[in-house]
Symmetry: C2
Subunit: 247 residues, 2 copies
């Protein structure tokens, strides 16, 4: 008996094979970009050719592999790991994968609604700086970031090189102290048509949505961000511990 | 000038408002489940009625709110926070939100493919226990979990109450030691038709996909899981630190 019992529906067996292949693709097992032939995969996973073919179809739907006539199945796109073990800016975390560039879509001094004011611990009447950026790696769109900054660190950004620098790095420079802790909420959402156009993905594509409130080392909240990462280009990687050390 | 400059496309302003509303919904600001009237939201966000309406439309598409004739816009579904600060089983992390139940779709002793064997640090020929479960909270499907366990902790599961107990809790009992660290990869993927049917969501719905390799306190890897969470029901919440303490 192979890995996958034949009594189970083929779609279940295909998903099981697809998950293991996805993992191997993300790990960079297929260095030349070409997956083994279906017969070899069939042997490796103890699954029928039809199951393997359906598994490859699932990964193709995700945009992870493509079928090239005469060549077989190849890895279609690199998916980059964003560190989840430490608070890092995008360029910092993807340093070894290439160059991050940022296109500023809008930047202005605004009167924040209560939802922003409360998160940033501001008094009524205090203004914030709003920045909206499309962030790309090696020229390919990776994320759309909506950012609210307290004025002390936000105002100097108008004169900074936002195109080529993480906001985190600039914040630490302007605040004269390192960042401390960030609260993070992660979700998976479907791309609405307008966001899909900005990120150059099909409508409805799965996005990794991150809401992040970052504090300075002294505890003051300074930076509230809403980030939509392309699901086909980015993974988050980290570690969790069972004990509560550091809580 | 309000929060959102009128020169920007309305879709951009709507996204900005939607993100703040999403946050407030997740925070439980609208206790009775009813959002303020469009005129009130318009004032609060310094945005036009049309922008607010479009923002509500985006949240409706996500399944977060619904429009009830004569009542206005109401919160459609609770979205549960999964702790990302500590390694927890689903029932443990959602304890205060209700009862987690598990439907075992398949469970068997299998010969693992190389991809599983290597992750679990097993020798060729060593077998593993494969478990596939649909996990629900208060009767509503939340996730589909594919789990590979080393035999020492997997075999006793055949006689355990998997319907009502987290595997984590059982593993610690069978191993006679607590769990230690887990490596985690998070992605956003679209639901294929078969998975969508299992999780009772529309095809293509955004899912939060988690691959997790869990180790015992003594360092041995014991549990490799591939988990698909419904994007409309679950968020991941945690903290990150800028410094590298604990690395």
């Amino acid at each position: 008996m192979g890995m996958v019992e034949t009594r189970r529906p083929r779609a279940d067996r295909a998903r099981q094979v697809a998950d293991l292949l996805r993992r191997e693709i993300l790990q960079g097992r297929f260095q030349q970009g070409a997956l083994p032939l279906e017969t070899a995969l069939s042997r490796e996973f103890g699954a029928s050719r039809n199951t393997v073919r359906e598994a490859l179809g699932l990964l193709r739907e995700e945009g992870l592999v493509e079928r090239c006539p005469g060549v077989g199945t190849t890895v279609a796109a690199e998916k980059y790991p964003h560190g989840l073990h430490r608070l890092l800016g995008l360029a910092e975390t993807l340093r070894e994968h290439g160059e991050v560039t940022n296109r500023v879509r809008t930047m202005s001094d605004i009167e924040p609604p209560a939802a922003v004011r409360e998160r940033l611990g501001l008094m009524p009447g205090e203004r914030v700086v709003y920045v909206e950026r499309v962030r790309s790696l090696n020229g390919l769109p990776l994320s759309l970031d909506l950012t609210y900054l307290i004025r002390e660190v936000g105002e100097p950004l108008f004169d900074a090189d936002l195109e080529r620098t993480d906001i985190f790095v600039l914040l630490e420079r302007f605040a004269g102290q390192p960042l401390g802790m960030a609260e993070l909420t992660l979700e998976a959402v479907n791309a609405d048509p307008h966001t899909a156009a900005v990120l150059e993905v099909p409508r409805g594509s799965a996005l990794l949505m991150v809401e992040r409130l970052t504090h300075l080392a002294d505890g003051r909240p300074v930076d509230l961000e809403f980030i939509r990462f392309r699901g086909d280009r980015l993974t988050m990687r980290g570690h969790l511990r069972r004990d509560t050390e550091g809580e």
